[in-house]
């Protein structure tokens, strides 16, 4: 794989669909466009053209074309967009013709964004935001990703960086010029104040719920003994038959995860193997083990088993899910009574889940930090914290240098290739 290749990929969702958008980026984009559509369209104006296979002359599709000459394009390179009719056959035919052009190949995952980053169109924090934006399926996720992608978060970190630089300057002045009487004498007090207010800001950012929860959804594990109706409830919530439902105990042997959205909030529903101690089946035993792990990671456990016998978890809701069975052993004080089978009272559960989300997700439109970002801000914060009771100005300067380095890393000022590869490898193809 070379960065000098021209790349293309389907940027819209999987066909069939009404439309399919293919993007082409790189030095050959213009050549390819001319070969397939005659002359180049006017930059940044949509024009309707017939696309042909340059080799056979065969007509491929009647398409809307957009032409963005670099460097003022999303990737910083020459960029073309083909808005095709969204049938599978059309998309496949165009992809085949593109791949046959010299110097042109299918893009690697995240390669469009990587090029945008390399050409200085976006910084690292923006790139990460963009990645989240691509994954964003719900309104809540989209707004949070926008806060990152629009650079609001970068500006905030830049601001911190500037303040840390100011504090460094204070210390350095004291170190290098203290023998000159013009250096202010209240620098220690100013250092403490400055570090204190920075830590407060960082703590506030760190206290916000993490981005992973926003991207992956609030984790809800449905748990209970075998045959307690877990899969039925999952299917009811997901409104499709994701889990096999039968009345044979132990039917669900592995975890079944279904992402759903209620009211613009992402949730990840997990159905687990029934928790029973005496399973003779090795595969089912593994499933039970995984269920225990899923419960440990869960944000919420919906417990369908006997009252008070659920797993230890800080947020466990007792649910009586068999309102339709008159002869059941009804729970005395469940949070909710509902029927997974008939759907009775499911709306009340959904409302409760949405209300819970308001506490567990970052406020809409605020940048949510992912684990890497949170770790770096924590490192910066800890370096600032170490300034307290630090009698040696030299060591104070070293702490400040480390604080600065953490922020630099946050904005991508470290430049090891591994980090970039790891980061860009997360991107779905075509953006």
């Amino acid at each position: 794989m070379s960065d000098s290749d021209t790349i293309f990929a389907l940027s819209s969702g999987a066909p069939p669909a009404a439309l399919a958008v293919i993007r082409i980026s790189g030095t050959q984009a213009g050549v390819v466009l001319r070969a397939m559509a005659g002359k180049l369209p006017a930059p940044r104006h949509a024009s309707l053209r017939t696309l042909c296979d340059p080799e056979s002359g065969g007509e491929l599709d009647r398409a809307l074309l957009l032409w963005f000459p670099g460097p003022a394009s999303a990737t910083g390179e020459d960029l073309a967009e083909l808005h095709l009719h969204g049938g599978r056959a059309v998309v496949r035919a165009v992809e085949r013709v593109l791949a046959a052009q010299p110097g042109v190949r299918l893009a690697e995952p995240g390669e469009f964004t990587r090029r945008a980053f390399q050409h200085g169109r976006i910084d690292l924090a923006e790139a990460e935001g963009l990645s989240d934006l691509l994954f964003a399926e719900t309104e809540w996720q989209r707004q949070s990703a926008m806060a990152l992608a629009s650079g609001r978060f970068s500006r905030c970190v830049e601001g911190w960086r500037e303040q840390v630089l100011m504090l460094s300057a204070l210390v350095e002045a004291e170190l290098d010029f203290s023998d000159e009487d013009d250096v202010a004498s209240d620098s220690v007090r100013r250092l403490e104040q400055g570090a204190g207010s920075l830590m407060t800001e960082m703590d506030a950012a760190l206290a916000r719920p993490p981005a992973e929860r926003l991207r992956e959804g609030i984790r809800i594990v449905i748990a209970g003994p075998p045959n307690s109706g877990k899969s039925t409830l999952l299917n009811r919530l997901a409104e499709r038959d994701a889990a096999i439902v039968s009345d044979i105990a132990g039917t669900t042997r592995d975890l079944i995860e279904v992402p759903v959205a209620f009211g613009g909030v992402p949730f990840l529903l997990t159905d687990t193997a029934g928790l029973r101690e005496d399973s003779g089946d090795a595969i089912e035993a593994i499933g039970i083990e995984r269920a225990a792990a899923a419960i440990a990671r869960a944000d919420l456990v919906l417990w369908l088993g006997a009252e008070g016998e659920g797993p230890l978890h800080p947020r466990l809701w007792e649910i009586d899910a068999r309102l339709d069975l008159a002869e059941r052993a009804a729970k005395r004080k469940p949070l909710l009574r509902l029927s997974a089978r008939t759907g009775e009272n499911i709306g009340a559960l959904v409302d409760r889940l949405i209300a819970l989300a308001a506490d567990m997700l970052p406020p809409m439109g605020e940048a949510a930090l992912n684990r890497r970002q949170a770790a770096l801000i924590t490192a910066c914060r800890d370096a600032l914290h170490a300034l307290e009771d630090c009698g040696d100005l030299l060591i104070a300067a070293e702490h400040l240098r480390n604080a600065r380095r953490s922020l630099d890393a946050l904005l991508g000022h470290t430049h090891t290739e591994d980090m970039l590869d790891a980061l860009f490898g997360r991107f779905c193809i075509g953006k």
Binding site: Q118, H119, R121, D123, L175, D392, L393, L394, I395, N402
Partner: protein, 625 residues
């Protein structure tokens, strides 16, 4: 680094050094210590080793440079000791990583010490004369130097250490004089040749204060500053104080001083527009200070005697280019100086320097292989900065001619490398002065561990004489022995029993680890480690700080590994930065001027963003593929 040179010894010399200031002397001596045949050209033999400005050596950051040059067996540290009439350790209250050893030196004694050390080098010849031109061969490569009397001397490497002799202009009030220092001819014909070569040039300014007759100062009313009583020296090879110590004094500018200066600002070439070049922000002229910090009611002025046999006093802190009559009036407005007589008025000098980004890391001009530049010609200020560059250029030139491996110097092992790296990658916008803040790895670059960091490297480069080598071996042996003795582990309880202020509990760790606590000193541990020959106060202080900073240095290791990985990614010297999409014009210009040799260097060029760096990396990889 630099071109390979032929090692045939058909030339008169291996290395020619033009200029006998701090850079030139150090360059000539370093090359000669390595065994190169060196010619040092100076207008007069007597001018060699002259201190043209403030007779002080060392200070914050600068003291580190002196100790590092000394660790390479250089001249400046020992010459400073031989001439020191006043010792002062700046920043004494802070960690030794930022302490600044500084001395006042007697000009005459200093010059004598330098000349005597140069005289002791068997392969070094001093040539009196004016170098008027470089002798460039048909291929444009330097092959020697032509003197004013028409004689030419040949060598495959020439080091230019000509100070401010390029396009120098002297300003004192409305007076303007062409030339370098007062009373000396400027080497303008050589300068013409440098201009003709089309090297990138820029202009800077610097200034000096008036010199005062010490007999007209009322010392009795002034606050005295005595020489330090602790017997430290600039070079560890110097056995204590060499000459009688005298005191300095402190006075202050007054409201009246400021009024006089303010009323005459229009007569200063700095404010009339006659001087356009940038002066140093960290060492402004007194008229700048008063103009920019108008709210201050006074500025400190240090009165520093220039020697034992002279009455001249250097008033540090009032460099000026105001007319002589204004200087006279404002000097007399200060306490103790009411009747002071000015012997030589202060002046400002504006001069051209070579943009140091045209140099490689051994100070060789990329466009003119074989020509090295050191000192003020590269846009720096200060004796110490000049001396360190001289040492580097001398080693660089001698290694090339003698076909030797050059020593490895980097930002993590020396201030010298920090300075060179800053110069050749960033260039200068004001006269470059060393500051400890410039060094990222300051905790390991201490003034008191320069030998530990550098002397072994210097010995390997063949740059160290027998006396220092013997001293160094003995010291390292004592250090190893001490550290070994410190490996025994003891409990807090048992330490407290020896009267050490630690928590008397069962915590058990090695004595070396206990040394990390500020309350624990090596002296307190001596009953436990026994008598160790050669463990003196300096070595004890070094070991204590090694232990103290060890946790921080360990943390830096990961960072240094990353840095060194990027140092291994080479960038071609002819890399076409304009072909890299996404670099701004500003970035392209800076990269073209600095021509970084590695990705790590490119990362240090100002304004190079991570995105730009990624693009450069990709481009470099593509070329290599």
């Amino acid at each position: 680094m630099g071109a390979v040179m032929s090692t045939t010894r058909t030339t008169d010399h291996d290395v020619i050094v033009i200029g006998g200031g701090h850079a030139g002397c150090e360059a000539a001596a370093a090359a000669a210590r390595m065994g190169a045949r060196v010619a040092l050209i100076s207008f007069t033999r007597d001018a060699i080793g002259a201190m043209s400005c403030n007779p002080a050596i060392g200070g914050l950051g600068k003291g580190h440079l002196v100790r590092e040059v000394d660790a390479f067996d250089g001249l400046i540290g020992r010459a400073a000791d031989a001439a020191a009439i006043h010792y002062r350790m700046l920043n004494r209250s802070k960690g030794s990583a930022v302490q600044g050893p500084r001395v006042q030196a007697d000009r005459v004694l200093y010059k004598r010490a330098i000349q005597s050390m140069l005289g002791a080098l068997p392969t070094l010849a001093i040539v009196e004369g004016e170098a008027v031109a470089l002798d460039l061969g048909e291929n444009g490569r330097v092959q020697g130097v032509i003197l004013a009397d028409g004689a030419s001397i040949s060598a495959p490497a020439v080091i230019l250490a000509t100070g401010t002799f390029l396009g120098g202009r002297l300003f004192r009030g409305e007076e303007i004089v062409e030339g370098g220092r007062t009373g000396e001819a400027a080497a303008t014909r050589l300068a013409e040749q440098m201009y003709a070569a089309g090297l990138p040039m820029a202009r800077l300014k610097t200034g000096t204060p008036p010199r005062i007759d010490g007999r007209t100062i009322d010392w009795a009313v002034l606050e005295e500053q005595a020489s330090d009583s602790e017997p430290w020296t600039m070079s560890p090879l110097t056995p204590g104080r060499q000459v009688p110590q005298i005191f300095c004094a402190i006075t202050r500018t007054t409201a009246q001083t400021h009024d006089i200066i303010r009323a005459n600002l229009h007569r200063s070439p700095l404010f009339s527009g006659a001087i356009g070049a940038q002066g140093p922000r960290y060492c402004p002229s007194i008229e700048d200070k008063i103009h920019r910090f108008g709210d201050r009611d006074g500025h400190q002025v240090f009165l520093e005697p220039e020697g034992l046999d002279t009455h001249l006093v250097y008033p540090n802190g009032i460099s000026t280019s105001l007319p002589a009559d204004v200087q006279h009036d404002f000097v007399r407005s200060m306490r103790g100086l009411e009747a002071a007589e000015i012997v030589v008025p202060g002046y400002a000098v504006e001069y051209d320097h070579i943009d140091p980004r045209a140099l490689d890391h051994w100070l060789e001009l990329r466009a003119m292989p074989g020509i090295f530049c050191a000192g003020q010609i590269n846009g720096t200020t200060g004796y110490e900065e000049a001396a360190a560059q001289g040492l580097i250029a001398g080693i660089g030139a001698a290694s090339a001619v003698l076909g030797r491996e050059r020593p490895v110097l980097d930002r993590a092992n020396s201030y010298m490398a920090v300075m060179i790296d800053d110069l050749v990658l960033q260039g200068v916008t004001e006269p470059y002065r060393m500051l400890t803040a410039r060094a990222e790895y300051r905790l390991r670059l201490r003034a008191n561990n320069a030998s530990d960091r550098l002397t072994a490297i210097a010995m390997q480069a063949g740059c160290v004489g027998g006396e220092r080598a013997a001293w160094f071996e003995a010291r390292q042996a004592a250090k190893r022995q001490t550290i070994k003795a410190l490996q025994q582990s003891v409990t807090g309880h048992s330490l407290a029993g020896h009267g050490v202020a630690v928590k008397a509990d069962g915590t058990r760790q090695s004595l070396y680890e206990w040394l990390r606590f500020p309350a624990v000193s090596l002296e307190q541990l001596s009953p436990m480690i026994g008598e160790i020959a050669g463990l003196d106060d300096d070595l004890a202080a070094e070991i204590e700080e090694d232990a103290r900073y060890a946790p921080y240095l360990e943390r830096q290791e990961a960072e240094l590994r990353d840095l060194r990985a990027n140092e291994r990614i080479m960038l071609a010297g002819d890399m076409d930065y304009r072909a890299i999409v996404g670099l701004s014009n500003e970035m392209v210009e800076r990269l073209e001027a600095a021509r970084p040799e590695t990705l790590a260097e490119a990362a240090r060029v100002r304004g190079i963003t991570p995105a730009a760096l990624a693009a450069i990396l990709v481009h470099a990889r593509r070329r290599a593929a």
